[in-house]
C-alpha cells in the first residue's frame, strides 16, 4: 500500500523559497490542491501534470511534487491541451491567474472549452494583477482605482462563468479558497469530470486588492444548496449573473458529452499514447509508391 499522505509535498525534500506574500490566497489553494490529490487514489505525482503560465498563481507547480510545465504568459491551455491529446493517460490540470487565463490567454480560454478536452482548468481569480503590482485584471470591478486605472476601471468585468456556460463548457464551477472543504470537493469532481472543467477560484490578494478581501468574499458568496440542479443550463446562466451574492459550487455540469480525445481516430483502435508509437515503414513505402 502506497503511503498517500504528503505524497505531493515537496517541503520535506527541499527548502522552498515561496514567492507569495504572507496571507496570500495562493497558500490556501496549494494546500487544498495537494489534499485533493492525496485523496484521489488514481492519481500519483507521476501520472499528473500541472501546466501553468505566468503570474503569482502560475508559480504553484514549483511548490509541490508533480510533473510541471510552467510555460508562457497566457499560453497555459494550448500546452495542457496538447499534453492531454498526445497522452490521454495523464491527468492534466491547467492552472493560472485571471490575467493569464482571461486576459492574455483569452482566445485559448474560449476555444479549449469548445474542444471539451478532458483537462481541469483552475483559475486563481483575485480580480487584480499581483506580479506586476496592482493593475486591473479582466475581472476587476468597475471603479476600482489602480496605479494604471487612476480614475477607476472603466471596462465591464469579464464573466468567466457565463462565457463558459454559453460556450459549451461541460463543467463550470466557482469556489472560494476560504471554504476549504467545498473547494477540495469541487477540485476532485472537476478532475473526475470527463471533459473540460473550469473552476473560477476566488482568492484575495492581500497586497494589491483592498476591495475583494477575505471578509468581502465571505460576505458576498454563498454555497449552492443540495437541491440545486447543475444540469439545467438556463438556471446555470441565471446563477452566472448573480452579482450581489455570488453562488459557490458546481454551477453547470453536462455529463456524457464525448471528450476531444475520445473522438480522435488515433485512439479509436489503439489506446497507447503517441510516444509509444512508431511509423510502419513498409506501410509508408506502399503509400508513397501509390503517388504515381
Amino acid at each position: 500500500m502506497i503511503e498517500r499522505k504528503n505524497m505531493f509535498s515537496l517541503e520535506n525534500e527541499k527548502e522552498l523559497d515561496i514567492a507569495w506574500c504572507p496571507g496570500c490566497g495562493n497558500f490556501g489553494i496549494l494546500n487544498i490542491l495537494k489534499k485533493a490529490l492525496e485523496e484521489m487514489e488514481e492519481i500519483t505525482p507521476n501520472n499528473f501534470v500541472l501546466v501553468s503560465g505566468i503570474g503569482q498563481a502560475a508559480k504553484i507547480p514549483h511548490y509541490f511534487k508533480n510533473n510541471a510545465f510552467n510555460g508562457l504568459h497566457g499560453r497555459t491551455l494550448p500546452v495542457a491541451f496538447a499534453i492531454k491529446a498526445t497522452n490521454p493517460d495523464l491527468y492534466v490540470v491547467a492552472e493560472s491567474g485571471d490575467g493569464d487565463m482571461y486576459g492574455e490567454g483569452g482566445n485559448h480560454f474560449i476555444h479549449n472549452m469548445r474542444r471539451n478536452i478532458n483537462i481541469t482548468n483552475i483559475v486563481h481569480d483575485n480580480r487584480v494583477y499581483g506580479l506586476t503590482k496592482g493593475q486591473a485584471s479582466p475581472t476587476s470591478q468597475q471603479g476600482m482605482v489602480t496605479p494604471v486605472q487612476v480614475n477607476g476601471v472603466i471596462l465591464n468585468p469579464f464573466n468567466p462563468i457565463a462565457v463558459a456556460i454559453a460556450n459549451g463548457a461541460t463543467f463550470v464551477a466557482r469556489a472560494f479558497v476560504g471554504d476549504m472543504q467545498n473547494t477540495k470537493e469541487i477540485i476532485q469532481k472537476a478532475i473526475r469530470h470527463k471533459g473540460y472543467a473550469l473552476i473560477d477560484l476566488f482568492q484575495p490578494c492581500v497586497t494589491f486588492n483592498k476591495i475583494n478581501t477575505y471578509a468581502w468574499f465571505n460576505e458576498h458568496t454563498y454555497k449552492l444548496g443540495e437541491d440545486y440542479d447543475p444540469s439545467d443550463k438556463m438556471q446555470a446562466l441565471q446563477m452566472a449573473f448573480q452579482e450581489d451574492k455570488i453562488p459557490l459550487g458546481i454551477i453547470y455540469e453536462e455529463k456524457g458529452k464525448p471528450t476531444f480525445e475520445e473522438q480522435l481516430t488515433v485512439y479509436k483502435q489503439n489506446k497507447d499514447p503517441l510516444f509509444k508509437r512508431s511509423i510502419d515503414v513498409n506501410k509508408l513505402e506502399v503509400f508513397i509508391n501509390s503517388m504515381r
Partner: protein, 570 residues
C-alpha cells in the same frame, strides 16, 4: 502554319480562379508522366477564390525538367484576358489553342477549337476542361488507354456516367489534337521512355509532408496560412491511413505552444505556417529554446512585410527565422532545394530536433511547395528514426548538468519511469524549478549555447555542382537549386560552378573553403537585400559583391537567370 516543338515543350493554361485549371494540370501531368515523359508543373495565382487571372505552366520533356521557364510554346487561354495577363511571355512563337467562337481573340498563331460546343454536346459545359486536356494529349498522341484508366481512377467514385462522359469529352478533344499533329500544323517530337511510368509525381508540399511522416511525426498543430497550409491538409489526409493527430489551432500562438506541449509528452509534433504566422509564434520559439524542447517548424515563405503578396513567392524569411525569439539559444534551419532534399531533410529534422533538443526549421516557399515533377524513388531503406527521450529514475533532473553531454541532458517525459519532469520558461535549476541564482543562470546559458558548437559538427554540406577549377561561384539556397543548375547547364562554362545550401543556419563550416576558392561569388536570392549574402558575411567574413535579386513575387525563370549570370561573367 506548321510548327515542330522538340525535346522540351512548355504548355501554359490560363484563366480565372474557379475555372478548373488545377484539374487540368493534375490530369495532364499525371497522364503524361504515365506515358513516359518528364513533367514539371507550377502555378501562379491570385489571392481570390473566383475571377482574376491565374496560370499554370506544364513542361514536358524527354529529359528531367524541374524549373520554371518564361517561354510558352502552347497557350490555352480560358478567358479573353489570359493573353494580356501573360504579357510578353506570349511571343510570335507561341501557339494559341482556344475556343475562339467564345473568346474572339485576334492572333495569327491561333488554332480555333470549339471546346465549349463539344462539351455542351456531351451534356455539360463543365466538360470543356476535359476536352482541352484531350486536345493536348492528342498532340502527344498518347495512348487512349492511359487516359481512360486515369479518368476511371480519378472520377470512378462519382459514378459510371460521369466517367464515361469524361472519357467521351477527352476523346473528342484528342481527335482534334491528333489531327493538328498529323496535318503537321503542330508537331511535338519528344521521345517517351516507358520506365518513367513508375516515377513518383509529388509536389513540394507532398515532399515535406511525406518527410514528416517518415520522420515519425505523429502530430501537427497549425493555423491555416497560404502557402504553408498544404502540409496541414496533406497530413490530415494521411491521418486516414497513419497515426497522426491533426488539430487546427485557434491561432498561431496556440499552434506552437501545442507543438511544444506535444514534445513535452513525448510526441513528435510540428507546425506549418508562413512568415506572418511565424511572426506570431516567436515567443513560443523562445520558450522551446529556454526549456530545451525539440520542435519542427515548416515555414513556406511568401512576400512580406505584413500580409505582402499572399499567394506569391519569396525568400524573405531567412532573417526572421535566424533572429526570431528573444534571447540566445541554438536552432537549425534547413532550406531544401529539391523534392528529394525536402523529403530527407524533413525526416532528419525530427531526429535532429530530438537529439539536440532544439527547434529545427524547414524553410520553403510558395514556388517550392506548389511545384511538382518526376521523382525516381524515395528510398526508405536508410531512414533511421530514434526517439531520444529516456525512462527516468526517481532522482531524475531534467537539466542535470552532471549528465549533460555537449549541453544535452537526457530528456524525460511524464509517466515514463519513476522521475518527475519539470520545465520552466523562467531561468531554472537542474530540476527545472524557477531560480534567480545567478551562478546557475550562467551555467544554464552556457549549457544551452554549447549545443550550438556540437551542432556545427553535424551539418549538411552545401551541394557543389560544376568544374572543380572554377573562377565564378554562384551561391544559392532553398528553391533556387534547380533553376541555377539549369542556367549553368545552358551557359556551359567550365569556369562557372554552383554551391547550393540546403542547411542555411548554422552556415556549414566547410562552405568557407568553397567560397574562398572563387575569384567572384555571385549570390542568387528571392529578396531585395541579399539576406543570405549578409549572413555569409556575418558568419564567415566573406563579402559578396555580386547579387542577382528578384523580389516581384515570381520565381526566377531559366532564361532570365541564364542571362543575368552571363552578364556577371563579362
Amino acid at each position: 502554319m506548321n510548327k515542330t516543338i522538340k525535346e522540351d515543350v512548355s504548355i501554359v493554361l490560363s484563366g480565372e480562379a474557379g475555372q478548373g485549371i488545377q484539374t487540368i494540370e493534375g490530369l495532364l501531368t499525371f497522364i503524361l508522366k504515365r506515358e513516359g515523359y518528364y513533367v514539371f508543373a507550377t502555378k501562379e495565382y491570385m489571392s481570390r477564390i473566383r475571377g482574376g487571372s491565374n496560370s499554370t505552366e506544364i513542361r514536358v520533356s524527354s529529359k528531367p525538367v524541374k524549373s520554371y521557364v518564361d517561354k510558352i510554346d502552347i497557350l490555352i487561354p480560358l478567358t479573353k484576358s489570359s493573353v494580356e495577363h501573360l504579357g510578353n511571355r506570349v511571343t510570335e512563337d507561341t501557339l494559341i489553342i482556344a475556343d475562339n467562337d467564345s473568346l474572339k481573340l485576334e492572333n495569327k498563331n491561333l488554332f480555333n477549337v470549339p471546346i465549349l460546343s463539344i462539351a455542351k454536346e456531351i451534356g455539360n459545359e463543365i466538360y470543356a476542361n476535359i476536352v482541352a486536356v484531350g486536345v493536348i494529349l492528342g498532340l502527344f498522341k498518347t495512348n487512349l488507354k492511359t487516359i481512360e484508366e486515369y479518368l476511371q481512377e480519378r472520377f470512378g467514385d462519382k459514378g459510371e456516367k460521369i466517367v464515361s462522359d469524361n472519357i467521351k469529352a477527352a476523346s473528342e478533344g484528342y481527335k482534334l489534337g491528333k489531327d493538328f499533329s498529323e496535318s503537321g500544323e503542330i508537331k511535338i517530337e519528344i521521345s517517351a521512355n516507358e520506365s518513367l511510368k513508375d516515377d513518383l509525381l509529388i509536389s513540394g508540399t507532398d515532399a515535406v509532408s511525406l518527410g514528416a511522416l517518415a520522420g515519425n511525426c505523429d502530430s501537427i498543430f497549425a493555423y491555416p496560412m497560404t502557402p504553408g497550409s498544404g502540409v496541414l491538409v496533406d497530413l490530415a489526409n494521411f491521418s486516414k491511413n497513419f497515426d497522426i493527430l491533426v488539430e487546427q489551432a485557434e491561432d498561431e500562438i496556440a499552434a506552437i505552444n501545442m507543438a511544444i506541449g506535444g514534445w513535452y509528452a513525448g510526441a513528435r509534433s510540428m507546425v506549418t505556417t508562413s512568415d506572418g504566422g511565424f511572426a506570431l509564434m516567436e515567443e513560443g520559439l523562445s520558450l522551446a529554446g529556454m526549456i530545451e524542447s525539440p520542435l519542427v517548424i515548416h515555414l513556406a515563405q511568401r512576400p512580406a512585410p505584413a500580409t505582402g503578396l499572399p499567394t506569391r513567392t519569396a525568400q524573405e524569411g531567412l532573417n526572421l527565422v535566424i533572429n526570431a525569439g528573444h534571447g540566445e539559444f541554438p536552432r537549425l534551419v534547413f532550406a531544401p532545394g529539391s523534392l528529394e532534399q525536402a523529403f530527407y531533410l524533413t525526416q532528419k529534422a525530427f531526429n535532429i530536433a530530438d537529439k539536440y533538443q532544439i527547434p529545427v526549421f524547414i524553410l520553403t516557399d510558395q514556388f517550392f511547395v506548389d511545384s511538382y515533377y518526376n521523382v525516381k524513388k524515395l528510398d526508405l531503406s536508410n531512414i533511421e528514426n530514434k526517439k531520444y527521450f529516456v525512462e527516468t529514475a526517481e532522482d531524475y533532473k531534467r537539466y542535470d548538468l552532471s549528465k549533460a553531454k555537449n549541453g544535452v541532458s537526457p530528456r524525460g517525459i511524464p509517466n515514463y519511469g519513476n522521475g518527475l519532469v519539470v520545465v520552466d520558461s523562467d531561468e531554472h535549476d537542474e530540476e527545472g524549478h524557477i531560480t534567480e541564482d545567478l551562478d546557475i543562470r550562467i551555467k544554464m546559458v552556457e549549457k544551452r549555447l554549447k549545443k550550438f558548437e556540437t551542432l556545427k559538427e553535424d551539418f549538411i554540406s552545401p551541394e557543389f555542382y560544376g568544374n572543380d577549377n572554377y573562377k565564378y561561384l554562384v551561391i544559392c539556397w532553398g528553391s533556387n537549386y534547380n533553376v541555377v543548375k539549369e542556367a549553368l547547364e545552358n551557359i556551359d562554362n567550365k569556369d562557372l560552378a554552383m554551391l547550393h545550401f540546403s542547411q542555411v543556419y548554422p552556415i556549414p563550416e566547410n562552405a568557407v573553403e568553397f567560397l574562398e576558392k572563387a575569384e567572384k561569388i555571385i549570390d542568387v536570392e528571392n529578396n531585395a537585400t541579399g539576406q543570405f549574402a549578409k549572413l555569409i558575411r556575418a558568419e564567415t567574413g566573406i563579402k559578396i559583391d555580386s547579387k542577382i535579386l528578384k523580389f516581384n513575387g515570381m520565381p526566377f525563370s531559366v532564361e532570365e537567370l541564364t542571362a543575368k549570370i552571363r552578364e556577371e561573367l563579362q
